[in-house]
Symmetry: C2
């Protein structure tokens, strides 16, 4: 109700100029006695600097933006929690947006952030590199998390493509054939290692026909899967949903029905894993007797399934925290990308090939 004290009030009450108050509060130089007096008066007036004035003056909003496809996806929620934890300890606000996996909504949200002059952004991207170029060009400091934007739709160059597959491990964006690649730091999990471990584990159990169910943004994982499986590659065993739970279910169900010969499935994300369990149950496929299942993402409910799900765990919370650190510390110098390790957590959803 009572309007808050401004820097001017503090200056008058302390008998100094506003510039001095600003300096004291921003850690600038000032004589010990003035500093003390200003601090005392500020405390007494319960003065809190208004972010509005500061933002306008500096032509940028503090804090960071966070763009995620869907908070209902437990992994994204974990990632968001990590970002929020870091932001909280830095006292910075986080403007969040949920894109629904739709590049168009993503672009709109980027526009909104631009309007707010939020110039630091952590994103689990949905659009391709092309759709991210404007944000970069506008001067935003972007850090990608969990995944990288797909290369724009250009004619595929097999050589480059193969090269990309080989380079999967490092976090750099795979260079598209034509457009200059956007050079953005990222925090991702070691998809290649995680998938390879999963496939090897299944192989060790005797499985030969292993399928992969992915969602949008799981291209790296799919590529890693192809690589891990090696020749002969059965492309029919690699299917994709569009992001919604329904489409994930449809993809899983379709896969099980069209290829009853498969004996194991790797789900590229927890929503896909959920769909796989549901679809298997609906088709009277027992896990792991009839089909073994490994799910990407360790989520609390993975243990609740029966049997408990064997998963490839990636440190969602850490990824968010690290991404936030990167984007906050980008005080000028470019940051290096980060690749975090994954871990295969063996529970009960995989068995020997029957």
């Amino acid at each position: 109700m009572a309007k808050r004290a401004t820097i001017k009030d503090v200056a008058e009450a302390a008998g100094v100029g506003v510039a001095t108050v600003s300096r004291v509060l921003s850690g600038g130089s000032a004589s010990p006695q003035t500093r003390e007096r200003v601090l005392a008066v500020a405390a007494q007036l319960d003065y809190r600097p208004s972010a509005l004035g500061r933002n306008l003056r500096q032509r940028r909003t503090g804090g960071m933006g966070l763009l995620v496809p869907d908070l209902t996806d437990t992994f994204h929620a974990q990632l968001a929690e990590g970002v929020l934890a870091c932001a909280r300890s830095a006292g910075e606000p986080v403007v969040i947006g949920s894109t629904g996996g739709d590049p168009e909504q993503e672009s709109e949200l980027i526009g909104m952030l631009l309007e707010q002059s939020v110039d630091r952004l952590i994103a689990v991207p949905s659009g391709d590199e092309e759709s991210w170029a404007p944000a970069i060009r506008a001067g935003m400091t972007v850090v990608f998390a969990d995944r990288l934007p797909a290369a724009p739709p250009v004619e595929e160059d097999p050589a480059v493509s193969a090269l990309n597959d080989l380079l999967l491990l490092d976090g750099a964006a795979p260079p598209p054939a034509r457009a200059k690649p956007l050079d953005v730091p990222s925090v991702v999990a070691d998809d290649r290692g995680g998938i390879r471990t999963a496939v090897r584990y299944l192989r060790g159990l005797g499985h030969r026909r292993i399928a992969f169910i992915g969602g949008p943004g799981h291209d790296r994982r799919a590529a890693a899967f192809r690589e891990a499986v090696g020749e002969p590659l059965d492309e029919e065993l690699i299917v994709f949903g569009t992001g919604s739970r329904d489409s994930a279910y449809a993809a899983a169900s379709g896969l099980f029905q069209s290829r009853p010969d498969l004996t194991a499935v790797v789900a590229g994300g927890n929503v896909l894993g959920e769909a796989a369990v549901l679809a298997a149950r609906e088709l009277d496929l027992r896990v792991p007797r009839d089909v073994s299942l490994i799910m990407y993402d360790d989520v609390p409910w993975a243990e609740l399934c029966s049997p408990p799900l064997t998963v490839v765990a990636q440190p969602g919370r850490d990824m968010g925290y690290r991404a936030a650190e990167l984007v906050l510390r980008s005080g000028g110098r470019r940051q290096r990308s980060v690749v975090l390790p994954t871990e295969l957590i063996v529970r009960g959803s995989c068995g020997p090939r029957r």
Copy 2:
């Protein structure tokens, strides 16, 4: 890189004053030809008004704040998605904060929002009424979602307490014994009806010793449980966790061990339900043979459990959406609280008392 065009640029390019440009863009009155020219120039310069200038001028940041205990709790994630959906369609930014269920962190985040001049806030509160008074007093438009802040710790007046229980259904905050109650609109589920339906259902299956496991903020549900169970009331069958998954597990496990005679459990939230399933399994209690379980919150993974969990569904997404509508539409007039219906979804986690 290239700095964005300002309203001044547009004004010069269109040969009008800045005031006119502002009016045209804010829907004020202007002659058709000027309007058209301004619009054309603005489009050509790709002008987008800076929220910074506007915010400072209006001494308030647009959009809204959102405070939630934990995004990893699927219900809160659903609620957040609802809020974000509404905000997105309104083109408004959302500043989010995760409190971890800690009143202190909650207060800090409120302070941060105040600093940002965010004057509209949707909260799943963790602190009590007392800790929310400052925010209200500072002129914030607050809408509580999912739960209401607890009454401050005053000497319990049995009469008032009983009255509160009777008034549970309506969304108004239960008036504390002393301090003036804070009159804040809210969007909550019909906890009383949901719990009553659950208890009646269990009763119908023959259960007599029914327990309730709650977390922070589940006081209304606990009260509703007491009411639904009626006399004789066995207070030992009502236990609380502190919010973390660990403490939820501890509460559930402790309950099962100390009262092996119970035959059914109502979990006050999905984290508690998760803990109950885990604890039961650990103690070799079969669901529903040995113990029946009803969980508050319908979440996607409820169906994955085996048996699939019977739940009291509350429309989390809708609650978020409605809360956002309330807080956005609060253009002056006070809003009425909203109580949304719950629904008992019978799956397989409840059976007859053995």
